[in-house]
Amino acid sequence: MRKILIATTAIMASSVAAMAEGTLNLYNWGNYTNPELLEKFTKETGIDVTVTDYDSNTTALAKVEAGGSGFDLVVPSHNYIPIYVGKGLLAELDHSRLSNIGNIADEWADVPWDPNRAHSIPWQWGSTGIAVNTKAYSGDPHTSDIFLDPPEELVGKVNVVPEMSDVMAMAIFNVGGEACTEDLEVLRKVRDKLMAAKPSWLSMDYGTTDKLSSGDYVASVNWNGSTMRARINNPDVVYGYPKEGYPLFMDSVALLADANNVDEAYQFLDFIMVPENAAMISNFARYANGIAGSEPFMPDEMKTAPEIVTPAEHADAGRFLPTCPPSATELYTSIWTELLK
């Protein structure tokens, strides 16, 4: 009881002390930050890290844009970085304060969505593909037809995660279009394809790791890290990289323009670029990070996982989704609404 009282007082008092020295406020996706990583950081630097969760890029953007919530670091997906930058919400990074900046793997050191890493440091990256239970379907898993034109044995059994941009992108790739296309001929095919496919879907839901493990879902549009977790529980689950094209994402840590704890934030950014520490991020959430030399610190099951280490023959089909212009989003929302009305 006393412990609860102490904790209670601490919670009531802590809100006042948010700007005290040696603290850092990280605003990150839920269940995405390894607590051991934070402990290690606190032990090395004496800085206390408070993590606050969000569940979507749009919520995070709305809150950061409104301001005043006291966050220092945020972890948007790659295609949201240009939006944050365009709205002036991020501080440009002073690379001279980041001694480990050279640890970023070459392929991630200069990326289209953040030239020269001026605003963000890699956190984790992965792909959106297809998870299939081989007991229910033994054919080729490497195609988005599994949800857009399901084989007979999967009709009525497919789950689709309710992510508009991912699902739209996969459907556009499936009919041969480019991401963010506004070509109405392509979009008409996309719409027809989705409308025809929807009756064969079981559901549009998250929580795929559990339901793939338990066999409730035998096929689903899913993320690679989640599929790996499901496969560890249930060896029948395989991950498919659709040959028509599949979206890649990279969540990156960025410093907010109105951060209160800038020095602490730099220390944290530098800290997570140490290979050993970057590996801790991956070991927790099961996605690859972008730091060279972190693999030796990962367990074997991750080093060889076919979901994490993209097989060479499937690598080319993966594409980072660019930031779609509002006019494209408007078209996609119309199709999405028609699909779900």
Binding site: A62, I83, L184, L187, R188, R191, W201, T329, T333
Partner: protein, 300 residues
């Protein structure tokens, strides 16, 4: 405040007593909602928010839709079908919670005074666990390998699991579950002051039980019924989590549709306009109700 107060002082007292609630609501609910009302008349901003330029676009889009392929303008039947689905489901939810809730509230109100508080708490305890985890627990009961199907198969009632999860039935089960206490508690509050001697009098006059229920009990506990129905029907119109998780999210309810505009759809003005429409419709219905009910209200 007893019988003597009349006329203007009555109204003054009424306003004064309601003032704290009104101030609280104005600061932290209705007042900020004015921002949303204003937003519905602005242009949408890039990726989020609004641009401070007047536009009737959002309101146009509430009523009409422009086909993105051939540019024809027609009545927005997507909006309409989403709205209609929400109304149907909310009505069904209200009906189920009433059928289950009235006997439950009655049962609680007719216990001995001490036990009553315990039963009342028993109704709310399941709701001390969070909505999401509760929804997942319901899912656990009704899914194909879940409690219900396993039990039915073991009992030999069925041989194959019944697909309940991701159907409208699942949504109804979930909504009825979530909203049941909102029906039971106001009903209890009304039944608890019901004078049981009235029933006795009814029996003495040879009334049937059905007649007693309809002619004596229901009219007297009507305020509780109304409160319960409002508390269930109105919030379930905007329900969001339950339809998405248990219904499988393949068909939107109005809550999901509005959320889409503020989220991935990046169209805040449209979200704002849609919610204003919902607000106006519900307000209108409530207003109509108070008008109609004040006509036959003996205290009016």
């Amino acid at each position: 405040m007893s019988g003597g107060a009349h006329g203007r002082s009555k109204g003054l007292n009424g306003w004064l007593l309601s003032l704290p609630a009104l101030v609280l609501l104005f600061v932290a609910a209705s007042g900020p909602l004015l921002i949303v009302a204003v937003y519905s008349f602005l242009e949408k901003g890039d990726y989020s928010g609004v641009r401070w330029i007047f536009s009737g676009d959002a309101w146009f889009r509430v009523l009409f839709e422009k086909d993105i392929f051939d540019g024809t303008v027609s009545l927005a039947d997507a909006n309409l079908s989403i709205f209609w689905r929400s109304v149907k489901l909310s009505l069904a939810t209200t009906f189920i919670t009433f059928v289950l809730g009235l006997p439950t509230a009655w049962f609680i109100a007719t216990r001995a005074a001490k036990a009553r508080a315990i039963w009342l708490f028993l109704i709310t305890i399941p709701f001390w666990t969070n909505l999401l985890i509760r929804t997942f627990a319901i899912m656990e009961v009704i899914r194909n390998q879940g409690l219900l199907n396993t039990a039915l198969i073991n009992l030999g009632v069925i041989s194959e699991p019944i697909q309940i999860l991701y159907t409208d039935t699942a949504v109804l089960i979930g909504m009825a579950y979530v909203y049941l206490p909102l029906m039971v508690l106001p009903l209890f509050a009304a039944i608890d002051r019901f004078d049981m001697r009235l029933i006795e009098a009814g029996y003495d006059l040879y009334a049937s039980r059905w007649l007693i229920l309809r002619r004596i009990i229901l009219p007297i506990i009507k305020p509780g019924i109304v409160a319960g129905c409002i508390l269930v029907f109105v919030p379930s119109l905007g329900a969001y989590v339950t339809p998405r998780v248990l219904g499988g999210g393949k068909n939107m309810m109005i809550g999901n549709f509005i959320e889409l505009q503020f989220g991935q759809g990046q169209n805040w003005p449209l979200g704002a306009a849609l919610s204003m429409v919902l607000l106006i419709v519900v307000m209108g219905a409530l207003l109509l109700y108070t008008r109609v009910s004040s006509r036959d209200d003996p205290h009016g």
